[in-house]
């Protein structure tokens, strides 16, 4: 992320637009390249944070676009890893020095020189040589100059969204798999969404934090800004956000026509280890079911879109059963889902519930007091469901669904 003083934008009241740069502009590619050369070589050359700052400051100062260079430099610093300069055990060394100097201080008969001498500190030694300024650069995540400029443009937009408390996104011809990822991102960043079909093929999503209805707050700004790259992944989109900057209310409109590039691209294919393990064990353990690759979403009506975590297809029949997982942060959503399932038992859906959500078995059973007929659809797991319990539940749901058909 960029700091507020590094943001570039134009205001044409009541509109505000990030000052996007041309990622193919040769002079910008030169600046990016020059900075990258330094950062790429920094870990091997054992450069300290202070040295790096001094060198890059001179490039920034002499650059034809000082603020852009400073912004690029910030993004590059964010890609660095720093390690303490550990040539000496400074804390231990300091303790020995301070205990010696303490005696001299207590005598009341001292000067700066006698204190240093009595503690045995050589004149050229810095007793605070392990401060962050002296940290060494131990690693740097590489990036190309054009990708850095793309990242810079995205960061300009994200930086402005830090002044927003909600986003309105319009998506023409929403495609299921992309929408699913978007909805997952909304869930991941713990945001709320309100869906409206404006026209037949134009979906509007209003995204905000749970507290946002009580008034503007910066609470969700970081979540919204971090969520934004998930929107950029969509092929077509339009975003509008009202920003409060220096007391002025300004509207920021962005769209796919701004040619922003999301760095979340690779995240879409990231599969957590526990899910990989579940897939492997599931395939190994049985031959009745297979996990569906691209899980479709379930339209439960009333703007309720259910995006299951896993979907299972029966190999011998046409059964398709979805699994939705409820973790500790989904307490209220769980009750809503149970109520929905109670009203629509024909939905081919089962629910895995994290034990952290219920106090004990009695508490779990109480969830179904009003709707005992869906008790068999739900079971408890710890952290992530096991294959055996999932299979058991699948068979129960298949039987129930067959019976009701």
């Amino acid at each position: 992320m960029l700091r507020s003083d590094q943001l570039l934008y134009r205001i044409n009241h009541p509109h505000i637009k990030p000052g996007f740069v041309d990622p193919r502009a040769p002079f910008l590619l030169d600046i990016a390249g020059e900075l990258l050369n330094i950062y790429s070589s920094a870990p091997d050359s054992g450069m300290s944070r202070q040295e790096l700052e001094e060198i890059t400051a001179s490039i920034i100062r002499s650059s034809p676009a000082v603020r852009i260079a400073a912004g690029l430099n910030k993004l590059l610093t964010d890609r660095c890893e720093f390690a303490a300069a550990v040539e000496a055990d400074y804390p231990l060394l300091r303790q020995q020095i301070f205990l010696k100097s303490a005696g001299v201080l207590a005598s009341g008969n001292f000067s700066a020189e006698t204190l240093r001498d009595s503690a045995g500190v050589p004149p050229d030694m810095d007793i605070y040589g392990d401060l962050p300024d002296f940290e060494k650069i131990s690693g740097f995540r590489p990036i190309t100059p054009p990708a850095l400029l793309d990242r810079y443009n995205l960061a300009l937009a994200q930086g402005l969204l830090l002044y927003a408390d909600r986003l309105t996104v319009q998506i023409p011809e929403p495609e299921n798999s992309m929408l699913r990822k978007l909805l997952k991102a909304i869930k991941f960043f713990r945001l709320f969404a309100r869906f409206t079909m404006l026209k037949k093929h134009l979906l509007q999503i209003e995204i905000s934090g749970p507290c946002s209805i009580f008034g503007p707050s910066a609470k969700y700004a970081m979540q919204l800004a971090n969520f934004f790259p998930a929107i950029v992944l969509l092929p077509k989109w339009k975003l509008s956000a009202v920003l409060k900057i220096k007391g002025r209310m300004l509207t920021c409109n962005l769209s796919h026509k701004d040619h922003l590039v999301s760095h979340y691209r690779t995240l879409a294919s990231y599969i957590p280890e526990e899910i990989k393990l579940f897939h492997r064990t599931f395939a190994k353990k049985q031959n009745e079911w297979e996990i569906v690759g691209n899980t479709p979403f379930i339209d439960a009506g009333n703007q309720e879109l259910i995006f299951p975590d896993l979907s299972f297809a029966g190999k011998t029949d046409a059964s398709l059963i979805h699994l939705e997982l409820f973790h500790r942060w989904h307490a209220s959503g769980l009750r809503d889902r149970i109520a929905l399932l109670a009203g629509q038992p024909e939905l081919p859906l089962m629910l895995g519930i994290d034990r952290a959500l219920v106090k004990d078995e009695a508490d779990f059973e109480q969830l179904f007091e009003a709707c005992p007929h869906i008790r068999s659809r739900c079971w408890l797991f710890r952290d992530f469901p096991g294959v055996s319990s999932t299979l058991k539940a699948l068979e129960k749901v298949r039987k129930n669904l067959h019976r009701s058909q």
């Binding site: 020095i97 204190l115 810095d126 605070y128 309100r194 934090g209 500790r328």
Partner: protein, 458 residues
Amino acid sequence: MIELDFQSGTLNISGVKSLPPDIAKYTLPDERSGTFRAKACYYAPLVLALRQAQIAFTDRARNYPLLPQLALTGKLIPRPHQSKALNAWKQADCRGVVCLPTGAGKTILAIMAMDYLKRPALILVPTIDLLTQWCSTIERFFGIKCGMLGGGTRDIREITVSTYDSALLNMEFIGNRFALLIADECHHLPSPENRLCAAMAIAPFRLGLTATPELPEDYTAVLNDMMGDICCNIGIRELAGKVLSAYQVKQLRVELSGREAAAYQHHRHIYTSFLRRAAIDFHRKNAWSDFLIACARMPGGKEALHAFFAQRHIARAGSAKLDMIEAVMRRHAGEQIIIFTADNDAAYTIGRKFMLPVLTHHTKAAERKQFLELFRQGRYPVLVTSKVLNEGVDVPQASVGIIVSGSGSVREHVQRLGRILRHAPGKEQAMLYELVSANTSEESISARRREHDAYQER
């Protein structure tokens, strides 16, 4: 039937199409979920209003038990002002702000409140040092393991201490697990971010603790809304010489050397001329960012920025001040001294020159703990700090404070004074020195921060 749920730091009210006005005033219709939503902090009045209106409801929001087993490990004999404060808070329905000077035993008051209520409590503190200090006090008095949230630890228990920052990140998950919310140094609470910590908690009982309740009007309103009104306010002078140490405040004017005075005037002239050219007025809001922008855009900006830092450095930590620090340390040899600076650079300059431990936000946890322990034991007679010791941290052995530099904030200076006011065996009178570079901007900064009853020379 109405259902009340805690949802991500809010109260979700479902199962009803409309609400009577007495209840509706706490809520807003939420089109996103088709329900009503209220700030979590309105849990208590909302539940009371529902009960008064005899409306049946299911309360799934509250998720904390009673703790009848919570008991003090020994007898606690409160000081009269602590009993007075607790009674005032109880009379305010266990919801209010108590103002007590530093060293008057605010933590003990909180222990008394927890012991009285016997319900899960969450204590908010501004720094990691206070986090560990509160935890050890709670463990000592109740003989239980205290939960910690912050500084890389996430251990939530029935009595938990959290930094404001960590609470802000976690309140949407844990805001319904505590009946009592205690905000230490609660003048931090009304900031736009921190106030959400209190807004997202359902805790019906709230105790704000501060030594410096003076806040801008809008912040006072937020504090009252979130924690309750001030229910007890006891000043330093009421307790000085009794509960607190007697103290003396002495300002020492330091003349810059000829060379430094010339350099100061030179840089000051460049800086102030630039301010005039750029029409920057530091009485206005956002002036600092306007100044930085002007420095980046206008000719002479880089020189002006450099001049700003140079003149400030001379005023804050010139060689004459270092000589004065040496003289004061000699005068008070054998006593425990804390040296305060406005910035880390000055703190480390002093630390390097006199071989002294320096405590800043760069100091790692283990060394920070070691510095404080050795200082409390008297094995380190002097501790240098920039701002991390400004608030709360308990170092009763300190009897001398040297303010080398600081901001114009009254709060900062009252808090710094508070560091040396705690009673300790053998401590007769605390002494606070304020070093001010003569004929520099420090003189006006000093005048601003001394606008407090406690900070006048006596």
